[in-house]
Amino acid sequence: MSKVYVPRDSAARSVGADEVAEALAKAGHEVIRNGSRGLLFLEPLVEVETKDGRIAYGPVTVEDVASLPLATGGAHKLRLGNIEDHPYLKNQERLTFARCGITDPVSVADYVQHGGFEGLKKALGLAGSAIVAEVTESGLRGRGGAGFPTGIKWKTVHDASADQKYVCCNADEGDSGTFADRMVMEGDPLMLIEGMTIAGVAVGATKGYVYIRSEYPDAIATMKEAIANAVAAKWLGANIQGTDKSFHLEVRRGAGAYICGEETAMLESLEGKRGTVRPKPPIPALEGLFGKPTVINNVLSFAAVPFILAKGGAAYKNYGMGRSRGTLPFQLAGNIRQGGLVEKAFGVTLRELVEGFGGGTFTGKPIRAIQVGGPLGAYVPASQLDMPMDYETFAAAQAMVGHGGIVVFDESVDMAAQARFAMEFCAIESCGKCTPCRIGSTRGVEVIDKIVAGEDRDANLDLLADLCQTMTDGSLCAMGGLTPMPVLSAIKHFPEDFDKPAKMAAE
């Protein structure tokens, strides 16, 4: 019988991976539940170990199982060949997602065998300041959205003196179109543990929390399992690998509030309170969790760190363009033929991602708009597909890279409805602390409704522009401050959708 791999990733499970794994086990095969390779359009992807490497078949249904030639890895209508040679995977630059899909995610032995804990091993022999310097050298910027240099943040916490410091991982991943954090936690959770532990060792923090949204039950369970295994193998907990360094890690569940992805709201939530945003200053690096100096980073920021320590900051910095260094795991989502995870160096164009890797729309109709960077990100028109993925290029185009989520819409999209949804989402998820966001978003929905109904169109468009300005200028955080971005981009690039009577007359 053969050794086969079927992902335990929840996206793979969402299209039948459990049933396929069960059928394979029943047929007598040794089934290993790996992470997903990120070729989500091919899930459930079954791989069989052969003398020619791991041969893949996909997408596999339970009905297909009996006919798969697993003893040989031979021909079949679903055969994809050696998965490592698949262009979708081969043309990526996988620094962070190097192991995901290859290993059993919670096996420490697998992790170590594939280069895991090399970064932490190195860090354990370095002074905190030297670790921080390596991260600074890499040019790594926060992957949660704002793109703040990670090294500078760590240095602030390192230099602060306090009886207790914390490391908090923001795994709230609320942005539509994003799932890379989830894939790390379900597919290579030990890498996140290693990254956070390196941060703890670097800044002198002995306690960490991973704040995971409750919508991710599989990620929560897998993280907990991986933490227990790391503790048992002495890579986490007291006296890591026999050194005098200790780091304790705990998982905390969110409770369905988008705003808890904002870092200070997350801190409130971690303290057991309502998730309202704190004014800055003080910055969390100085007064964070329970008022103590705290490193807060996104999952992908921490996940990039083991590579940086193992291979050196310069090796990471070698990838990328301008001030956007390294790679970003992009997430191809929405109306796209080949959705999944594509890790590439910054500088890859939107077109290469969406048309090259993604293969265009799922429906086969022309692309009309692409929302990049989550619900607070701009709608980019098809005419701007040649923009390189780079923080500065996107900012100059009044757009943002954010967490790397790319959501494709075909020509059937109604952009006025999308603008309305942006305001509606802000109204639903506002923490309620400031008026421009709390009230402005509800007013925004009403004004867009009037515009679409053709009621005093020009006056209401002016009103909407004013309202957006007020939200941008007067909001305490980026929830209210950036909601105008998708709204204004929709009006700017797709004005015809806000002029229904004219549009109907023209048709």
Partner: protein, 163 residues
């Protein structure tokens, strides 16, 4: 106190559950969200009657606990159906017809989002991204994610929930 069975008789059980779960977390007030999650898993919802005991155990005011329970979308104030289906309404799923899917679901189950079917089998709710945006439209059935949902898949899910 009345000798008859009234709703109030439930409160000792709820208070006991609240105290036991809080104790598991060392009565730490920062663990309030975890405690509420566990309480909801245990009782099916977060009953008002459990809150005073919880406040006392964690040394918080009732207003503070109440504030947290009402702030977060996850906590239910009343029992749900036997199964909970969360339908994603966020952008990636919209691009694949989530709005039409919601309309279909509401007609099929004869309820609106946020409501429970007449037979008590299913509560349907809105969710905003389930992290399955490459396989949209997505929904979550209890704790299980489902991708590429269409009418046929949905009808099968409903049949399973009702069996």
């Amino acid at each position: 106190m009345s000798q008859k069975t009234t709703l109030l008789d439930l409160s000792p059980r709820e208070a006991t559950a609240a105290r036991e779960i809080a104790l598991r977390y060392g009565n730490r007030p920062d663990a309030l969200l975890e405690i509420l999650h566990d309480l909801q898993e245990h009782l099916g919802f977060v009953p008002e009657a459990a809150l005073p005991a919880l406040a006392k155990a964690l040394n918080l005011s009732r207003a503070e606990v109440h504030g947290v329970v009402t702030f977060y979308h996850d906590y239910r104030r009343e029992p749900a159906g036997r199964h909970v289906i969360k339908v994603c309404r966020a952008e990636a799923c919209q691009s694949m017809g989530a709005n039409e899917l919601v309309g279909m679901i509401e007609r099929y189950l004869k309820v609106k989002l946020g409501q429970t079917t007449a037979d008590g089998a299913i509560t349907v709710e809105a969710a905003y991204c389930l992290g399955n945006c490459a396989l949209s439209p997505a929904m979550m059935v209890d704790e299980k994610l489902v991708g590429r949902v269409d009418a046929k898949k949905f009808e099968k899910i409903v049949a399973e929930c009702r069996s």
